[in-house]
């Protein structure tokens, strides 16, 4: 599958661009071969034109919004890359708990595995979840080339290191007054991420394929690149770079798959990457849904 900058990006993710403003040389592919009999899925990524050890600088309130349900650093240097394997849709539905007095999000069933907080005095809301898994961190050589490959079990998706299976992510209102249940992408939809789940809770590769599969490489800080599994204090760094989903025709270079359109069921399902992927490309925040109409306001 060809990989293009901005092609497969989540809501409120920052899509980085090289400081040179030249995205023409970026190119990548991901190939997956699987063998159910041998219980293996082999992932090979090849990239060229990747800037080595880039720095990320974001501005709070502009292209960075603190997220209590998915904390990660706003700025960092010497960035490393990681591939995310994304399950497009899944029958997994998570229960989210809201405070009945303030209508603020308290967390989900993944944060409160022993049952809802407040002694059960919560407003439970069911919301679909996407599934993420990933590679270890890697970085390109001095010429911007990178090849990274790994093998995981076919019957149970897990991260490259084998330390965890998957994490679930969704886009939810942090306050019910800002949500729009009948049209979620038109209300507040902020990233929410579960903790990493133990091995054994991931879908099979077969299920992954039938649910739609997407890939994205992201940038993150190299806090502990030598640790098993690389840097896994959080699920993703909120900085997307090069990726692509696998549906018919893929996403052509210079276009971005719109998760908001997917959620709202409207088409076209893609639209142009702001600034394009040529000379003069620039970073942008993808489809933020931070603010929304307050339905509780008088």
């Amino acid at each position: 599958m060809p990989q293009w900058r901005g092609a497969s990006v989540g809501i409120e993710e920052y899509v980085w661009a090289p400081p040179s403003g030249d995205c023409r040389k970026l190119k990548g592919t991901v190939r997956v071969d699987w063998d159910s009999a041998a219980n293996s899925a082999h992932v090979v990524m090849k990239y060229r034109g990747l800037p080595r050890r880039p720095s990320i600088r974001r501005t709070e309130g502009v292209d960075f919004f603190p997220d209590p349900f998915h904390e990660f650093p706003k700025d960092f240097d010497n960035g490393v890359y990681r591939l995310w394997v994304i399950q497009g849709a899944d029958p997994v539905v998570g229960t989210f708990y809201y405070d009945p007095a303030t209508l603020e999000l308290l967390g989900s069933q993944y944060d409160f595995p022993d049952g809802p907080p407040n002694g059960g005095a919560v407003i439970p809301v069911n919301i679909p979840l996407f599934t993420l898994s990933g590679s270890n961190a890697f970085e390109p050589d001095a010429d911007g080339f990178a090849v990274h490959e790994y093998t995981i079990p076919y019957d149970n998706l897990q991260v490259e290191s084998g330390d965890f299976s998957v994490a679930r992510i969704s886009y939810v209102p942090f306050n019910l007054c800002l949500g729009q249940p009948a049209a979620p992408a038109r209300g507040q939809a902020r990233p929410y991420v579960t903790p990493w789940l133990p091995v054994g809770q991931g879908p099979s590769f077969k299920k992954l394929l039938h649910s739609g599969i997407a890939f994205d490489i992201q940038l993150e800080n190299p806090l502990d690149a030598t640790a098993p599994g690389g840097n896994l204090p959080y699920v993703f760094g909120g900085v997307a770079f090069v990726g692509g989903p696998s549906f018919q025709g893929g996403i052509p270079n210079g276009q971005r798959f719109s998760l908001s359109s997917q959620i709202q069921n409207v088409s076209p399902i893609f639209n142009p990457v702001p600034g394009g992927n040529g000379l003069g490309c620039y970073p942008y925040l993808n489809e933020p849904h931070v603010s929304a109409t307050n339905h509780c306001a008088p």
Binding site: M1, P2, W4, R24, K27, T29, V30, R31, V32, D33, W34, D35, G88, A89, Q180, P181, A182, A183, A185, R186, L209, H210, S211, G212, S246, F247, Q248, G249, G250, P252, N253, G254, Q255, S258, S260, S261, Q262, Q264, N265, V266, S267, P268, I269, F270, N271, P272, N277, T293, H295
Partner: protein, 442 residues
């Protein structure tokens, strides 16, 4: 390149380098990119219907929501109007009185009959209110009355596009499709852009009942948040099956299921030699596309869940009908202030990443929804049971009779079209006659 389609092992296409090339807009390049696009589709080899609502919907409620009485085919609007205050639209939603059964009439295989439709309803009937679909366009009333065509803008209710975005503005004229055997269709509406009946129903309510581009998902969903009202309607539409034996195709545990797959003509009753010869002609000339056994729609669909797949979910094809534009349908945007008609220019994206600014001069088919250049002029492959009772034909009602349909597929217009080149048809007079005999008894 590793092809995705028809493989159960080792996917993930590699078309490296393609997107960095600025392709020339010549026909050979277009054909090459179209092949790449088609090869990237991973169609399921299994005859299944993952888009079904099934038991998730209530058939009785669905019939009522569709606008029909429980015990007759009489129109009943009691539960079929979508009105009330919408928090999504931020306003009160009113209806012009149209319900689904207004244009999908039970006595005409849940579609519209041929001929002058002014004889069907009184002039005051909501049926003739075309303002929601085509605004002030003066072509609207006549195209509905004389040809059964209604205006539609595929991107009209996309809230993420500016109101003047060409994808929201592009207008096409399409027939009211017959709903018979709709459960066997992968990809709904004439261009296949709706992946589930729920999507189709929601879009129809938005498009036919109000004069603004506002969405009101909360009203169409009903009181539940899970689109229950639309699911009910979809579940009922899924029961519109004829002949009834086709139901076995939906259920792999049905004792007749495999028999219907093994014998694609098991439910077709042929009584003459000409009909039997026509069946042979059909097998040789038509089943490249009409390959769903016993239904004769197209069985190909993307190998995953419908809503995971952006349109098109089913296999849509370009057979040249739209470019022929036999009725000379005008698709430019009508300016009520000046009376002028302006050509819409769609920014269609090719597989190589090039954006082609495409002036819309006829119905561009699936491309108006998907935004893909390779989807130009593609339409859904319709089912063919009871086809003799479903005139007029094609998405634009441009063929009045089955004879006209067969003659079209026997013509240079078809054989020079993108999919006509893949599936050429050349019939002699006897084959033509036999095929018609067969089609009439389907």
């Amino acid at each position: 390149m590793t092809l995705l389609k028809n493989t159960s092992f080792a996917i993930i296409v590699s078309v490296v380098g393609l997107a960095s090339v600025s392709a020339k807009a010549d026909s050979s390049s277009n054909g090459h990119l179209r092949e790449l696009f088609d090869d990237s589709a991973r169609y399921s080899p299994i005859l299944d219907f993952p888009q079904r609502v099934g038991s998730a919907g209530d058939v009785v409620r669905g019939r009522s929501t569709f606008g029909l009485l429980a015990d007759s085919n009489e129109l009943d609007r009691t539960n079929a109007l979508f009105t009330g205050f919408s928090t999504v639209a931020g306003r009160e939603i009113t209806s012009n009185g149209k319900v689904c059964a207004t244009c999908h009439l039970p006595q005409f295989q849940y579609g519209l009959p041929p001929g002058d439709l002014s004889t069907l309803f009184p002039a005051s009937d909501p049926f003739f209110d075309v303002t929601p679909e085509s605004g002030a366009d003066p072509l609207g009333p006549g195209l509905l009355r004389d040809h059964g065509l209604v205006g539609a803008r595929p991107g009209r209710f996309n809230p993420f596009l500016a109101p003047d975005d060409p994808f929201r503005q592009v207008l096409i004229w399409r027939k009211s499709q017959h709903l018979l055997n709709v459960v066997f269709t992968h990809g709904l509406l004439n261009d296949g852009r709706a992946r589930e009946l729920i999507e189709q129903a929601r879009g129809a309510v938005f498009n036919h009942t109000q004069n603004s581009d506002d969405r009101f998902d909360d009203i169409t969903n009903g009181t539940a948040l899970n689109s229950q009202r639309l699911k009910d309607m979809a579940a009922w539409e899924e029961t519109l099956i004829d002949p009834p034996e086709l139901k076995a195709l939906l259920d792999p545990t049905d004792p007749n299921h495999q028999a219907l797959i093994d014998n694609p003509f098991a439910t077709v009753s042929l009584t003459s030699a000409a009909q039997r010869r026509g069946e042979q002609v059909f097998q040789q000339s038509c089943m490249g596309c009409h390959n769903m056994p016993n239904v004769f729609s197209n069985s190909q669909h993307q190998d995953n869940k419908p809503l995971v797949t952006p349109p098109s979910y089913g296999h849509v094809m370009d057979v040249g009908v739209a470019q022929r534009n036999k009725l000379h349908l005008e698709v430019g945007r009508y300016d009520a202030a000046t009376g002028a008609r302006h050509t819409i220019v769609l920014p269609l994206v090719r597989q190589d990443g090039e954006v082609v600014r495409y002036p819309v001069r006829d119905d561009v088919g699936a491309a108006a929804a998907t935004g893909r250049y390779e989807d130009l002029y593609r339409f859904k492959v319709p089912q063919l049971r009871r086809i003799g009772q479903m005139a007029p034909y094609f998405h634009d009602n441009s063929a009045a009779t089955l004879e006209e349909v067969v003659d079209y597929f026997n013509s240079a217009d078809y054989n020079h079209s993108a999919d006509g080149r893949q599936f050429p048809i050349h019939l002699n007079a006897k084959q033509r006659s036999d095929l018609l005999e067969f089609l009439r008894v389907l």
